[in-house]
């Protein structure tokens, strides 16, 4: 196995994308994701790839659309306000059934908000990365190593289902350093893309990449087919980590950086004799409702912890479906909850003697 090296989360995302065969990056600087682009600007020219700092986020996502149409493995990255700017392009990618990797290193919002870490783009990522009836795949790593691992999953699943995929990170995960084992550059060929507009070579008929459909019934039919595909993904590709949940009475649900804090609080709660556990969604879309439902029988109370005013808590409540109470605790605006605060909430949730 390769030696462990220290990397920032943002750098790990970039290096993992290169290892997964991505050779095209289009972006625009914004804190706290800038290292993704900075890393790509250093590495891409050395490996025959393309790094381009576009004139805006809107331009960058449309360059992604172009490269993806031509069958390239392509990515962009930004932080919260920049993702809002990209949303039109993301909808077009979904409408044209194009795979692409989009990184969101979340910061405080709304508006320009601030540069400190946040998780207040959950609704945007899972509900509305753009207009129209569609979903994108959303992955939520919680360690630098997991960022590396999920990047190739995101590319592969995106290609398999021909849809955009997002890594929903946050400023804390992006900026912190942890030891990682980098993947060997994959020598397996990237999947064939017979739909790509990469030249007919005088042989096959023209491929067309498009999201405009003239007749309503044709568009409806296409959306129906996409939703069949979404159902298959919900069935096959939910991912979550269940930590100490077998006998858990207080089930904490948290993703990304807040799951690191929640895990620390759950460990302390266990030391104090409280039966607490943690469910950590790794895919946010599809949301791992099976893992949540599996914890319902032992649970007396669910507690969702987020760096927001409460967004994922909606999906937890849908999954629990009224069977048990679901409480929420969060800090927002760039403030990170402490393990002590979360422990306090666990005790308030009925974990105290």
């Amino acid at each position: 196995m390769a030696e462990k090296v220290l990397m920032k989360g943002n750098e790990a995302l970039a290096e993992a994308a290169i290892a997964a065969g991505c050779r095209h990056f289009f972006g625009y600087p914004i804190t706290p994701q800038t290292e993704v682009a900075a890393y790509m600007s250093k590495r891409m020219p050395k490996i025959g790839g393309t790094y381009l700092q576009a004139e805006s986020e809107v331009a960058a996502i449309n360059m992604v659309y172009g490269a993806s149409s031509a069958g390239m493995r392509v990515m962009t990255s930004s932080s919260s306000p920049g993702i809002s700017l990209k949303s039109e392009g993301i909808s077009y990618l979904a409408g044209a059934d194009l795979p692409a990797l989009i990184i969101n290193v979340q910061r405080g919002g709304p508006g320009l908000g601030g540069i400190q870490p946040s998780q207040s783009d959950y609704w945007q990522a899972t509900r509305a990365t753009g207009h129209g009836d569609f979903h994108i795949l959303v992955f939520a790593p919680s360690t630098v190593q997991e960022m590396v691992d999920l990047v190739s999953d995101a590319f592969d699943l995106g290609d398999q289902y021909r849809m955009p995929a997002m890594i929903l990170s946050d400023g804390m995960l992006g900026q912190m350093m942890e030891p990682v084992v980098l993947p060997e550059a994959s020598d397996k060929p990237l999947p064939e893309k017979p739909w790509a507009t990469n030249g007919t070579k005088g042989g096959r008929p023209h491929n067309i990449i498009n999201s405009l459909y003239i007749t309503p019934t044709e568009l409806e039919q296409l959306v129906f087919e996409r939703f069949k595909k979404y159902d298959e993904i919900k069935d096959k590709h939910q991912k979550a980590e269940c930590y100490l949940t077998d006998d858990a009475e207080i089930v904490v649900v948290a993703y990304g950086a807040s799951s690191r804090i929640a895990r620390s609080a759950v460990n302390t709660a266990r030391e104090q004799g409280i039966k607490a556990g943690l469910i950590r969604p790794i895919t946010l879309w599809p949301f791992p409702d099976k893992a949540i439902k599996a914890a319902v029988p032992t649970a007396k109370q669910f507690l969702c912890v987020e760096m927001s005013m409460g967004q994922m808590v909606d999906d937890v409540r849908l999954a629990v479906n009224g069977a048990k109470p679901v409480a929420f605790y969060g800090r927002t605006g760039g403030v990170i909850p402490t393990p002590a605060e979360v422990l306090d909430q666990i005790k308030k949730s009925g974990g105290a003697e």
Binding site: K4, V5, E15, E35, G114, I115, P117, Q175, E178, I261
Partner: protein
């Protein structure tokens, strides 16, 4: 006037950890110490995060006015000019890479007038500068951006909480090679305080407290 020590190196090589330790140790030895957070690149994990700890050790802290706020304004405090006139030990904790060292260029005249030691922190386990040639190349880029000369190396090889005595021992040939390539001495080899006893054989060993932590490690 005493020393001016400038700490440079790759992003995440451990510049801030080393700078914080140096400041506390000099203060404990009875020196008047001023530390300047000169990082105009990194939004988080910086000297300013440790202001309360530093001040409790009697260290004076000068930071960019917007450090740790929600503003992305890489402005530098005018107080920095005063720092070059101060008696006692002055430490500059510089931002990563040549990008971070660019901020130093503005103070080249004051720095040269006072006289300085510029240390470059290297880490054999830090991606992109884990090869001696890469570390030496970055050192040259930092010198170009800052218009100052590095005077010595600090081998700060670590893997955060996964650092073992072997991690430090295995880095010695790396540090020796960077030293050979650059013609600079290795001033210190650092080790987490908890491991220092096991690594006594290493010359110029500098035990460090790993101050820089994530919120769930505290």
């Amino acid at each position: 006037m005493e020393r001016l020590t400038i700490i440079t190196g790759h992003y995440g090589s451990g510049k801030t950890t080393f700078a914080l330790n140096l400041a506390c140790d000099l203060a404990a030895a009875g020196k008047a110490v001023t530390i300047v957070d000169l990082d105009i690149v990194n939004p988080y994990f910086r000297t300013e995060d440790h202001r309360a700890m530093l001040e409790s050790h009697g260290v004076t802290v000068i930071s960019p006015p917007y450090a740790n706020t929600n503003l992305d304004l890489p402005g530098l405090s005018a107080q920095i000019y005063g720092a070059f006139e101060r008696a006692g030990e002055v430490i500059l904790d510089v931002g990563g890479d040549d990008a971070g060292a660019t901020a130093l260029g503005r103070f080249t005249r004051q720095i040269e007038q006072r006289g300085y030691e510029m240390l470059c922190v290297i880490n054999a386990r830090r991606n992109l500068t884990a090869e001696p040639e890469q570390a030496a190349e970055l050192l040259r880029e930092i010198e170009q951006a800052s218009r100052l000369k590095t005077t010595a190396l600090v081998n700060n090889t670590h893997l955060k909480q996964f650092t073992e005595p072997k991690t430090v021992r295995d880095s010695l040939p790396f540090a020796a090679e960077v030293s050979r390539l650059t013609g600079l001495p290795v001033r210190y080899t650092t080790a987490p305080k908890a491991l220092a006893e096991q690594l006594r054989e290493i010359p110029n060993l500098y035990p460090v407290e790993p101050f820089v932590r994530t919120p769930w490690e505290s």
